[in-house]
Symmetry: C3
Subunit: 119 residues, 3 copies
Amino acid sequence: MPHLVLEYTGNLALDVQPTLLKLNQALVASGHFEENAIKARAVRLDNYLVGTAPEAKRAFVAVRLAILTGRTLEDKKQVSDLLGAALQKDQNWPKDLQVQLTVEVVDMQRESYFKLALQ
Amino acid sequence: MPHLVLEYTGNLALDVQPTLLKLNQALVASGHFEENAIKARAVRLDNYLVGTAPEAKRAFVAVRLAILTGRTLEDKKQVSDLLGAALQKDQNWPKDLQVQLTVEVVDMQRESYFKLALQ
Amino acid sequence: MPHLVLEYTGNLALDVQPTLLKLNQALVASGHFEENAIKARAVRLDNYLVGTAPEAKRAFVAVRLAILTGRTLEDKKQVSDLLGAALQKDQNWPKDLQVQLTVEVVDMQRESYFKLALQ
């Protein structure tokens, strides 16, 4: 059920597949999700602006996890922290950039959610 | 008012324009939306990972419909099911891939929504 | 904290960086956000469909602002209107296209939000 979106600014040479794998592994390790239901994607941002200083050397990575309603706040906070930690693991961020990392957890209404697994 | 986002993994040779048309037609047929207010886009995902097995042959299509607050749960469920059915109609999914289809309906706060139609 | 996403259909020759700058400046001017915390990105949509008439000359620009919970409805409405005005400022929209502009403000749950600023 969970959908994960990883956005990152193009000035970061993020190794995308290993990063997605770490994030998905963190979700499995949380115990809240089935392995084959975790659907993650990464999007490189080529047009971005942090604040109002275009010349500033800034970057960001934004993770958004969408889960079905019903989790407690504690569960969400735990998952968010796990993703934040996984995002930092073994990453070498450029020294000359101010990098912001964020993780948001958002509810998807369970009652109106449609899902079909083919095969 | 409604915004529709269709994401699909790049291992699916989805015929995008006909698919968007089927989805938008389903929204019109639901009777809840004005034809020219339906704003749909498709995004092909080139970087994705389902679960923690990168070598697994998996794919997904995720539809997200954002509508203004005020619809009943029944309306949302009906619309979600219509989109799910439209997504499957006349599609030939690859036999060698596990494909997951999902449809999420999300509310946009009506009171703070800005809209302007030019011309 | 705020995340801003600007989507625009590819039939609009939007000058992206100046537009992002105007939007971010509007956010700073609102007094609600720290300059260097505003993370904006623009996404050009190459596959889109407004309504069910593929041949119609239609376009749209959709802004989505995600902020942490806690703002009043009045604050959100004010910010939404400021972004709507900033979006229109000094823009020459094509005369032969029906252009829709929308701004949505969405809450991100504060308690489960993870943020880390490196350096």
